[in-house]
């Protein structure tokens, strides 16, 4: 595993693509010594990120996030539930992350990806513990009816840093979310109030007239880094993830408070300084992502 010197001078005799496939680690390490990555990025830079709100017309809130080639589609559907006895004035959020077989050659139908439930759990832990959403805002009638927000995130193209892209699409879907205006009918069921249906509903006041948008405080953003020897690579591609196996995911909220820090094992050990470097990179990334989210929201308002 010598990084330089010795018999690795094959690289000058071999075609580039062949070298990349046969000696992937050496191929990447030679790039790292030059402080550049195979796709031309500096080590600490994330890929180009785009965000589009309102991609799914049949959902109440949706967003499509792309980080490089990694693509995530998140959509929220609101349904009504009876709140639990312990929390009569709180709604709920159910988050599910899916990796359909279209997203990667490794996922086959009937054999769900091992990664999907892990990311699913990570996402719901992050979103629920960050305090981004006040569950009390999802209450309709205390003790009787509250909203259940079903957030489903689909990975359409898996090319590394899945959690980062999934979290970005999730928070963007929440910022696009428009809660339908509803009222209570005589049977105690919640029904939609539509504009052209005002005649029948005249006597019934909508119960959530002013609560169409959720207030989002402390929006969480994340950055995944690969730790390899002394190098820190931000926002890895799937190729980099498959070769270098130590990851560190940092989640910071919009006021740069640490929400979560996750290093799921891996052969490499992280020093305190490396962790601090990762947090520093994440702070920069949060600023970028905040700008991208705000631009997407203002683009939406113009339309």
């Amino acid at each position: 595993m010598a990084a330089t010197g010795g018999p690795n001078d094959l690289s000058s005799e071999m075609e580039l693509d062949a070298f990349r496939r046969l000696f992937p680690l050496r191929f990447h390490e030679r790039h790292l010594t030059e402080s550049i990555r195979p796709d031309g990025r500096p080590l600490g830079k994330a890929r180009e990120t785009t965000l589009a709100l309102g991609a799914v017309a049949s959902a109440h809130g949706s967003a499509l996030a792309k980080i490089g080639c990694t693509t995530m589609l998140a959509a929220i559907k609101m349904e009504v539930m009876t709140p639990t006895v312990e929390t009569p004035d709180e709604g709920g959020i159910a988050i599910d992350f899916h990796m359909p077989p279209i997203c990667s050659p490794l996922v086959r139908p009937g054999r769900p990806a091992e990664l999907a439930p892990v990311i699913s759990k990570q996402l719901s832990d992050t979103i629920l513990s960050s305090g981004m959403i006040d569950l009390k805002e999802l209450c309709l009638v205390s003790g009787k009816a509250a909203w259940m927000a079903y957030l489903d995130i689909y990975c359409l193209d898996a090319d590394g840093a899945l959690f980062d892209a999934a979290l970005l699409s999730a928070v963007a879907a929440f910022s696009h979310l428009q809660i339908p205006v509803v009222s209570l009918n005589d049977d105690g069921r919640v029904v939609l109030v539509s504009e052209d249906n005002t005649v029948a509903m005249k006597e019934k006041e909508p119960v959530n007239k002013e609560r169409i948008k959720l207030t989002l405080n402390n929006i969480p953003f994340s950055l995944t880094c690969v730790l390899h020897k002394n190098y820190i690579l931000a926002d890895p591609t799937s190729e980099e993830e498959s070769i270098m196996e130590t990851f560190l995911t940092v989640v910071l909220d919009s006021s740069f408070q640490l929400v979560s820090l996750n290093k799921p094992g891996g052969p490499g050990l992280a020093h305190t300084s490396a962790i601090q470097d990762c947090i520093k990179l994440t702070r920069q990334r949060v600023k970028e992502l905040q700008k991208i989210l705000n631009e997407a929201i203002s683009d939406m308002e113009v339309d």
Partner: protein, 256 residues
């Protein structure tokens, strides 16, 4: 997963009260307009694009009105170990729906049936001899279901196969027609499909003028079937031209 446990309270989607979907009386007034304002024999505008998924061998995205589909093609790759030796290649198709594809959450149509229909529609167009012992996987994900789902999936899958460089006799284009009373509606939306009397789907190879699949359900008279078939075939050849130009566009843009 957190919300999926048994402790999740039962939820329901609020509906608009006092409003029942009624079948329009088409026979009575002939100037009835379709929900999206199209004329009876007009298809929805089609948007097709190849190369939607980078990690696949080939892929395509199709958007017909509110029907949005992504298809990825993987392979030819090693067949499952349990498979018998085969001189010809195998085709494996799978269709899934997102939970938010349908108006009511998590109530997708029977996808096993759609997968097998897709398999049968494509099988005839692929030169299976060109990849012996291996399998080509065609996976479709319906992002949003807005009517005529299967024809859109089939069309998109054929484009993805071409994008993946799988040898084909010809691309297949698929179009459906709904029969509603005296009228024939081409490329129906979900609402129209819900109150149709019968439906006819044709999948064909436009340049060879061969039909790979034809499905007729419901109540039809023979002259109506002839009329509907002609409508479908004409629409298929137009769709085939759009698919061809989509592939040409993708090939003319220099890719890195």
């Amino acid at each position: 997963m957190a919300g999926k446990s048994s402790s999740t309270p039962a939820t329901y989607a609020p509906s608009v009260s006092g409003q029942k979907k009624r079948r329009p009386l088409i026979q009575a007034d002939s100037d009835w307009v379709r929900p999206d304002g199209r004329s009876f024999h007009q298809c929805r505008p089609a948007f097709l694009r190849t190369g939607a998924v980078n990690s696949a061998s080939g892929s395509a995205y199709a958007e017909f009105g509110n029907t949005k589909v992504i298809v990825s093609v993987f392979g030819p790759r090693e067949s499952k170990k349990a498979m018998m030796y085969s001189d010809t290649g195998r085709l494996n198709c799978n269709v899934t729906y997102t939970t938010f594809a349908t108006p009511l959450r998590g109530q997708p149509p029977e996808t096993k049936d759609l997968s097998s229909m897709l398999h049968k529609a494509l099988e005839g167009a692929i030169i299976l001899k060109s990849f012996p012992k291996t399998t080509v996987d065609v996976f479709a994900l319906v992002l949003e279901s807005g009517g005529s789902d299967l024809p859109v999936i089939t069309t998109c899958a054929s484009l993805a196969l071409a994008d993946a460089g799988i040898m084909l006799y010809d691309m297949v284009a698929s179009v459906s027609v709904s029969c509603l009373g005296k009228n024939l509606l081409i490329d129906p939306v979900s609402e129209e499909e819900s109150y149709q009397d019968g439906s006819l789907v044709i999948t064909c190879m436009p340049s060879r003028n061969e039909v790979t699949q034809m499905t007729v359900t419901g109540e039809w008279s023979t002259p109506k079937i002839h009329e509907a078939m002609q409508l479908c075939l004409d629409a298929c050849s137009k769709l085939g031209k759009i698919m061809r130009s989509c592939l040409k566009d993708a090939a003319s843009v220099p890719q890195d």
